[in-house]
Every structure is written in C-alpha cells, then in structure tokens.
Amino acid sequence: MTTRIAVVSAGLSVPSSSRLLADQLSSATAAALRSAGHPVEVDMIELRPLAHGLADHLLTGFPSGELAEALLRVRQADALIVVTPVFAASYSGLFKTFFDVLETGALEGTPVLLAATAGTARHSLVLEHALRPLFAHLKAVPVPTAVFAASEDFGATSDGRLAARVERAAHELVSLLAGPVLRGQVGGAERHGRPESGQVVRRGALPAPDEEFGDPTPFEDLLAGR
C-alpha cells in the first residue's frame, strides 16, 4: 500500500529555505521508503498561499476551498514532515495557525518529523522548546532527531552535517512508519474511532468528511450518559 507523506512548509519567501529543507527531508524519507520496497506519495503543502484562508478560518470557523483540502490531506497522511521558519524565538504565527485550526485529534499517533530554519544556529532549540511540546499536545509522535538548518548550513562550505541530520531524521521517520503503520496494525481510523478487531486500518481509510456522521452514537446511549 502506498505510504502518504504530507509535508507542511511555512516558509514565506519564494524560494524559501524552509521549502529547501522540506524538499531535502521529503526526498530522503521517500528514498528510504522506496529502498525498503514501499511505494510512497509525497504531498507538499506550502502555507503561504493558504494564509488568507487561515485568517478567514479563524474568523468564520470553517475552512474554505484549498485550505479545507490541505487540512484533509494532512489528516489522511501516514506521516508528516513540518518545517517552520523561526520568528521571534518560536515557530511562525502562520505555522501555528495551521495546526490551531486542524481539528482536535487529527494527528493522534501520527509520526512527525520536526524541522526549522533561521538565519543563525542560535535558534536551534526552538525545535525542542516550541515544536516538540506543540506536537506532544497534538498527540503526534515526533521522531527523536529534529532538523534545524541555519543559512550557513546551505552554504558551499557546509561540511555535510545538515545532510547527515536529514538522513538520520528521515530514517527515524521511516522506522516509525515501518513499525505498526506499514504492517497495517495501527492506522488513522483506529486512532480516531472504533476499529473492528483484527481489521487492517490505516490513516488513508479515515472516513471522508462527507461521511463523518456515518456512525452516530445511538440516543439510548446518550440518554444513559454513555
């Protein structure tokens, strides 16, 4: 079964170093999955074109058009790679807003690779102090290695350590996936709802929003406070 990796990049400039890092991380992850014999589909989601939609969602309470699609794609992904620029000692507001409007529980149990970019390496602990707690709150499963890239890491004089960190993080993400998810034992539907016992479920099997009310709690149960 094809593994779906959603990549969320909050870089603002075009091209952005966040997007560059996102590309490196997704290529490394895809390569590692393919070499292990798993077909993979990478879905790049840039937040810049969704900025208006995100502000509108905050004000209206519902996602429209492209934002609704992006949220659905993240919800249905088997794993997530997230990259934010560092703004004022933390993730950017745009990055945070995307995860603010993602519905509760959407990332429960989802493996996530955390990454950030900044002009200087002095901000690197943003990954540990801001992103990791955020994804812990969302009940996602961040891999141990988070990848930080300062501008100098993209330089010609780079000693290759960024590439090594990218590789290591990508392999950590794949090994998380290669555990339960690729064996079909843990998946989105199980994390969200009521799996049949022994049934092979995965994130891609989540109900489309069109069928989200397909299985109501019977009123007798509600009356009995169950």
Partner: protein, 366 residues
Amino acid sequence: MQLGIFSVGDVTQDPTTGRTPSEHERIRNTVAIAKKAEEVGLDVVALGQHHNPPFAASSPTTTMAYIAAQTERIILSTATTLITTTDPVRIAEDYAQLQHLADGRVDLMLGRGNTGPVYPWFGKDIRDGIPLAIENYALLRRLWREEVVNWEGKHRTPLQGFTATPRPLDGVPPFVWHGSIRSPEIAEQAAYYGDGFFANHIFWPSSHTRQMVNLYRRRFEHYGHGTADQAIVGLGGQVFMRANSQDAVNEFRPYFDNAPVYGHGPSLEEFTQQTPLTVGSPQQVIERTLGFREYVGDYQRQLFLVDHAGLPLKTVLEQLDLLGEHVVPALRKEFAALRPDHVPTAPTHASLVDADRETATEGAAR
C-alpha cells in the same frame, strides 16, 4: 412551508454612521420587526436568548408575550432557547404560560449556547453541554406530558411530586425544534423524539448542513417516526435585498465587512459562495432559497436573518417589505408545488391538537 425571520437580538453599532442603538431601542425595534413580519405575511418570528452584552434578549418569553398581544396570526418561536443553562422547570412553565397567552401560536427551538462564561454564571459547565441538553430536555418533556413528576438526575435538584403549571394549552406541549450547527448528538436527539431539526446553516458551507440534515433524516426513520423524507427540517438563511442587485451589494458591504460574526474575514463575494448568504435582488433570493431544497430535501421551515450587523430599523423594515411582497409569495407557491403529498408541513398547535385527539379516539376505539 413556513417562512419567517429569526433574530439574535444583538446591539451592534451601525458601521456606516457609527451609531449604536440603546438596549431600549433595540428591544422596541425587535417588537416593531415582529409586528412588521406579521403585517407583510410572514409565518414565523423567532427570537434569541442571550445572557451577555452585546445582546439585549435575556428573556424571550417576555418579549414573545408582548408581541403575541399585538399580533393575530404569526407563530412565535425562539432561536434559540438555552436548554443547557435554563432550568427545564422554568422552560416548561414559561412556555406553557406563553402558549395560553398566545392561544397556541408558540413553538421553540432548543440550543446549547456556545459562550463559555454563561455556563458558570448559571451554575453549569460548558463541558457538560451535550449531557445537559439531553438530560434537561428529557425532563422538560416529562414536565409537559406528566401531571405529577418524580425525577432525579445529575444536573438539577430532584423533583418529588412536582406539577409544572400551567399545564400546556389543550394538553399539547409546544412543538420543539432542536438547533445545532455541528453536533451530531443533537440531530440524533431530534430524530429520537421525532422532533424538528433546525440547521442554522448561515455561517457554514452547505456540504456541512447537508450531512447534518441527512443524519437527522436517516435516524428519524430509524426511530420509526416515518420515512426519512417526512422528517421535520428547518433552515436558516441570510439575505439582503434591493430591487437592483448591485445596489444591494454596495449597501450591504460595510455591514458585512464589519459584522460581529464573520467581519474582517472573507470578502462578501467569497462568503456568498461559501455559505447561503444571498445579497442581491428578490429574484436571486428566491432562486438561491429554492436551491436549498436540492441538498436538504423538502423541508418545512425557512427563517431568514435580516436584523443584525447594525442594520438600522428602517432598512430592516424595507427588507421585510421585499420579503413579504416578492420572496415569500413566490417561495410559498414554488415549495408547495414541489412538495410531494406524503411529506408533512410543519406542525402547528392546531395540527398537534388534531393529532392528539385522533390518537385518543383510536385509543378509545381499541
């Protein structure tokens, strides 16, 4: 098809003049709007219940009784009666009292309310929203239907040998609609009892409303109240009209851009596409409203929001004129022509009394 208006009762500054009406003005305006709604031939006027500024609508039955005294025909309803934070004993009594005063021209729509602090102000917890709605309504039904009630629950002091007074008019409780934007439990509740389900509809995309209504219809049938297409559905709608549609857009835009609920967000054009909001000519409103039927099926009640976002009274009354003169007659005719015979119209006090007598006669015959 019942056609009417619903109001939240907000006191909002007119963004074009900077003027904010006083609470007194807003309350008097609500009465004027309701009287005008009857005058132009609307079927229903529904009022909100709120316990915090900027609303001036904490006591709907007081206002409804006052309106009932000055009208002859229009049905008085709510949008919504807070089933979570209002003692169900008071709801049972207040609305039965109102039934008597209004000669049965009363129904109500129950809602939970989504303002967090209101719950503790009334000794409740918003996290209990759904359980409160379920337990309180179960009690409310018994208070209206059983002379003497012994009751014990989680959210209210127990009742022993309690009789809610006055008893409902003709022994028939007011019809109940359950309003919800996104809680499937409320659609389930409405279906379970065979009550009406009202989808507020106006701030959300139609795909969402379609799913909620479908859930309610499916479960209505499941609980044996009839076929899915016989379930009792109401929808909200939001319109602003002028004879010339570009005039409507130009005049409404500053109100839209500054509206308390969605202002400063999407453009008027975007929001019109994404939600049922219709700004244009009466003909556009007629066509758009008839289109609702395509995704919720034949339904029984359509309420429009026309008096919010700081629109001045004069403008609101003009909107009612346009509704009464052009929109309502056309919609009434079209909806009636489209509705199959086996799909019921919205229950009224008279129809509920008839149904009640039939049941009693059948019972006696057996």
